[in-house]
């Protein structure tokens, strides 16, 4: 079966985020960018499904500026077979991303679509669910285990109280949580091979989708800094402070 994986180019998770002095956003100039960590887990899961013989082809799609092709190439180096780049320099919000992905799904007709549960920049946690709703698919969100059986997929989900397993009809959408797998690193020969794998580029208009943000960001600020308090000498002093000064016990 064909698996479609959506990946997003975001700020590298090791980079310290700085808010721009004019409060219009986060400073991304000359900042290292990378594949969103949850998307790496999505790619890895697809590759494992292919290694198990469950997936026959992995198509990776990314929406974003020209440079997002770097993340598509990374996914190709990790084991995806071909890439689709929906190129736009505009801000693409979750609903528009879901509409673009829906158009790709209609073209490619994958049996399984895997996405990260959220991107570490906007932290929305929406696109996978929106895509599932728009395409009329079931969804296994925050997955920690994915087992394909015949025309169904069983997804174990990380929920507030523990774990919950659902069975979904295929085609279905899965969004990844951290414990689903540990992504591999791309080897140098695979990075070289990835350069020769096919990568199609298209504009949102080619997919018949107009990118028009519904949410406008009025300002972005740094969070209020918390002041460091005092050091206590021993446990007795700590308990005394908690009881008599902070009055929390």
């Amino acid at each position: 079966m064909k698996v479609l994986v959506a990946v997003k180019r975001v700020i590298d998770y090791n980079v310290k985020v700085r808010v721009k002095p004019d409060n219009t956003g986060v400073d991304l100039a000359n900042v290292k960018m990378a594949m969103n960590p949850f998307c790496e887990i999505a790619v890895e899961e697809a590759v494992r499904l292919k290694e198990k013989g469950v997936a026959s082809e992995i198509v990776v799609v990314s929406i974003g500026p020209k440079a997002a092709q770097e993340q598509i190439r990374t996914a190709l180096a990790l084991g995806a077979d071909r890439g689709i780049h929906v190129e736009t320099d505009e801000e693409v919000q979750s609903l528009e991303a879901a509409k673009l992905l829906k158009a790709v799904v209609e073209k490619e007709e994958p049996k399984l679509v895997i996405l990260g549960k959220q991107s570490i920049d906007s932290d929305n946690n929406q696109t996978g669910q929106m895509l599932a709703a728009l395409t009329g698919m079931g969804q296994g969100t925050f997955a920690s285990e994915v087992v394909v059986e015949g025309d169904k997929v069983n997804v174990t989900r990380e929920v507030d109280g523990g774990l919950m397993t659902v069975s979904l009809n295929l085609p279905a959408v899965v969004t990844t949580d951290l414990r689903l797998n540990e992504p591999r690193y791309a080897s140098l020969p695979n990075i070289m091979k990835a350069k020769k794998k096919p990568l199609d580029s298209m504009a949102p208009a080619d997919l018949g989708v107009e990118v028009a943000p519904r949410l406008s960001t009025l300002k972005v600020e740094a969070p209020a800094a918390r002041q460091a308090g005092i050091k206590v000498a021993d446990v007795a002093e700590l308990v005394d402070k908690l009881k008599n000064e902070a009055k929390v016990i």
Binding site: Q129, T141, E158, D160, S216, T217, V235
Partner: protein, 313 residues
Amino acid sequence: MSILVIAEHDNSSLKQATLNVVAAAKAIGGDIDVLVAGENCGAVAEAAAKAEGVNKVLVADNAAYGHFLGENLGELVAELGKGYSHVLAAAGTTGKDFMPRVAALLDVAQVSDIIRVESEDTFVRPIYAGNAIATVKSSDSIKVVTVRPTAFDPVAAEGGSASVEQCDVVKDAGLSSFVKEELAQSDRPDLASAGIVISGGRGMQNGDNFKMLENVADLLGAAVGASRAAVDAGFVPNDMQVGQTGKIVAPQLYVAVGISGAIQHLAGMSDSKVIVAINKDEEAPIFQVADYGLVADLFEAVPQLEEELKKVL
């Protein structure tokens, strides 16, 4: 304006997070209705009707909603939501699952995980794991919003007298079915709503040592949490994880034991009222956010803490 709040519950009791979301709805202003969708959830509806500030409780009691499957809840809430200016739910794993489906079916954007209401269409939310705070304005006719419960003080659980109406809309999308659930069993309070939380990190060295924290937690009536490092090391299960990728907590007292204070952990607990850090590394970043820091070997300090607490409690 009219606001539909989707109750968070387990079919037998109303979760406190619902009261926090009603508080966010009050901050927006307007009539507040609460939808209780579940199976055999009458007691939940009665509890919701008593919450302060609730106008009407709608009860959708059907097997299709018994396990809160996102496909079914999404269709139900999208249909009911057409009659409201705002649809709100807690940003827990249930709300995060079905609310984007609601937004997509209504063809509107969703505003996720708000921590403040600026006006009826403008909300404040953390981005970049809490390293930046964005103020966003929605131009959609229906605002679909998930609310970070710890950011809003809950409304009173008693005192209201809302009417309770049955809602007979049955939406079974037929796309998904429940297989099983493995919920952590604990007599301690729920991590997300506990007044006191004591968490252990990699410094705990193994899962057995968490027993020391449990002893202290039982004295304080506290919940026990963990850092992602402790979860990744396999000491404790993931549902104990506090942090950007785990649970966001904001208790009266947060005690971090053997936790260095990685950004992703701080993002999950730095709104706590009082923070205590116990760590043998004086340079650990956790001390930069702690109100009271104790530089000590946790294997000595935690048993001492238990003894000292026994004296004063």
